[in-house]
Symmetry: C2
Subunit: 321 residues, 2 copies
């Protein structure tokens, strides 16, 4: 929940002279996103989102993110389309920060995930993976196997304060994954943060995907693994095989998984668990006292990791080889 | 900057079945207002503001506030018009809180006050005062003379921590005002919090007034006194007589002030200074360590008070008796 940079009325007025989207009528900061400042911008031509990129986003990565959204939108994927200025650029500066305007996307993120959400997600995810195949820019995933090690080291042994034995579990899991991580699976651009607050629905229809600021090149099936964790567990940590089956089947109707991908899925799911367990643990032990944004519980992802460690085959995810 | 209560997607969907404003398309919490939770609501019929009233607003006062907005809107004053539900009520409950939907109001509040803003404000203020004359509900001003005493007592002598001698200044000023406060001036409904962030403009045109949650019955000229303080001082504490003159003249073109009101203006301005000095002081000495909302500097209002104490006649505000 955040507006880090306040945009004065006269500054947005002059900013809009660089675009062909009319004159400003209203600008309201929205309480969404923890990385950037976001505004709903109403002009004489419609509604938009104005984003000011704060320090947690690398400026050098913005052409990749904005270009990817533009690329997806051109292929019919519903996402916030960046609006180009009169000079053709969609990235400029406002109040000393990199800034972009995107189309406003209707829809709400689902507070209670139901099976139909998972089915719609699987289909859209596969469509995004196919649409991204000919995107020309690349960005390595800073939070893939090598990146996990850096977070693991940065946590030192402070995981012990959260749960006894956690450091040992993390080290062993990392060693195992580092040794067995597959290198030969289909790659492409993934969203990499497709949690429920980044996927909008209008009733049962998926209306769009937002927040592409973790997008990167990685194994496509790894995105499915992230979403198995983010969408298919209940609040009591139990795994909902119906949701997983619907998501995986819907995905495969658009982009069938290879045998190698299917076989790797439990391992990828362990990796996805470790990745969010580590970053949540880091945020948990490093968040400032009394900070406004409450860190998320890392132990939720320890439970998910344990589930995937216990999986015998992908039949446990509701599908067959 | 605040969304205290998060409204889930399914709860807003069922809430909207009580209205005739279509189906929800989007709901985004906005980072505005420190008292309530506000959302921009987009439905199939347009844009609205959904407000959930948090504990700082008395539920018993809401019919007054909403009724006043409705009354003003019916008389052509641009403000957030409350939308009635199918049953005719504009106040209902959502997520355990009193809630109302109002029309969305375009415009932005001016970060840098210019003379034309003050002229437009004077005109609209007078129109509001006239429009409110036949509003049937009443609400006493909890922050008029009697209320100041309560805040003064609650501050004890902690003002000394902010500035040496402050407690003595406050006590003496209160005694003086309590003795001389006029009882025979025209009364009516005033907004009572018409600061720059509550008045919207589109370029030079005043597009509307928001945030009626301090509205009450009081001396009409006291509202002018509040606005002399809020709109006619520069950041260096100097009084801008041009702005004051434009505001007062524009007001009088719609509603001429009586001789008594004109004569009382310096005294009313002292009262308006004391009122905001006291509440800011109270918030300053009582705000929780590390709170997200930074309290406003009370000393700004001590400087304003000193100016009005030094005023010899209303000629110092740029107008004549």
């Amino acid at each position: 929940m955040a507006v880090y940079t306040e945009v004065p009325d006269d500054e947005v007025e002059s900013f809009l002279t660089e675009y062909n989207i009319g004159d400003v009528l209203s600008l309201k900061g929205i309480a969404e996103g923890v990385e950037n400042s976001n505004y709903i911008l109403h002009t004489t031509t419609g509604h938009y989102i104005l984003t000011l990129y704060e320090k947690r986003v690398e400026k050098a990565d913005l052409p990749f993110f904005l270009g990817y959204m533009q690329h997806l939108a051109a292929k019919g994927i519903s996402c916030p389309v960046p609006i180009a200025g009169k000079d053709g650029n969609n990235l400029r500066e406002l109040c000393g920060r990199p800034a972009a305007i995107t189309a406003f996307l209707d829809g709400m993120w689902p507070r209670r995930i139901q099976p139909f959400h998972c089915r719609a997600l699987g289909k859209t995810m596969a469509e995004m993976h196919l649409a991204g195949q000919d995107f020309s820019l690349t960005r390595p995933n800073a939070l893939s196997v090598k990146g996990w090690k850096e977070v693991l080291d940065a946590c030192e042994d402070k995981g012990e304060q959260v749960k006894a034995g956690l450091t040992d579990t993390l080290n062993k899991e990392y060693e195992y994954l580092e040794k067995h991580w597959p290198g030969n699976l289909p790659q492409g651009v993934i969203h990499a943060d497709m949690f429920q607050d980044n996927v909008f629905f209008i009733h049962e229809k998926l209306s769009g995907v937002i927040d592409f600021y973790f997008a990167c090149n990685d194994l496509l099936a790894y995105e499915l693994a992230i979403c198995l964790n983010a969408w298919c567990f209940e609040l009591d940590n139990s795994f909902n095989i119906t949701k997983a089956q619907l998501m995986l089947r819907a995905y495969q109707e658009v982009r069938p998984l290879t045998q190698n991908e299917l076989q790797a899925l439990p391992l990828l799911a362990r990796g996805a668990s470790l990745r969010f367990l580590l970053t949540r643990l880091y945020d948990w032990i490093n968040h400032p006292e009394g900070a406004f944004v409450k860190p998320k519980d890392p132990i939720e992802y320890l439970n998910k990791l344990k589930f995937h460690q216990s999986v015998k085959s992908i039949a446990d995810y509701g599908i067959a080889l």
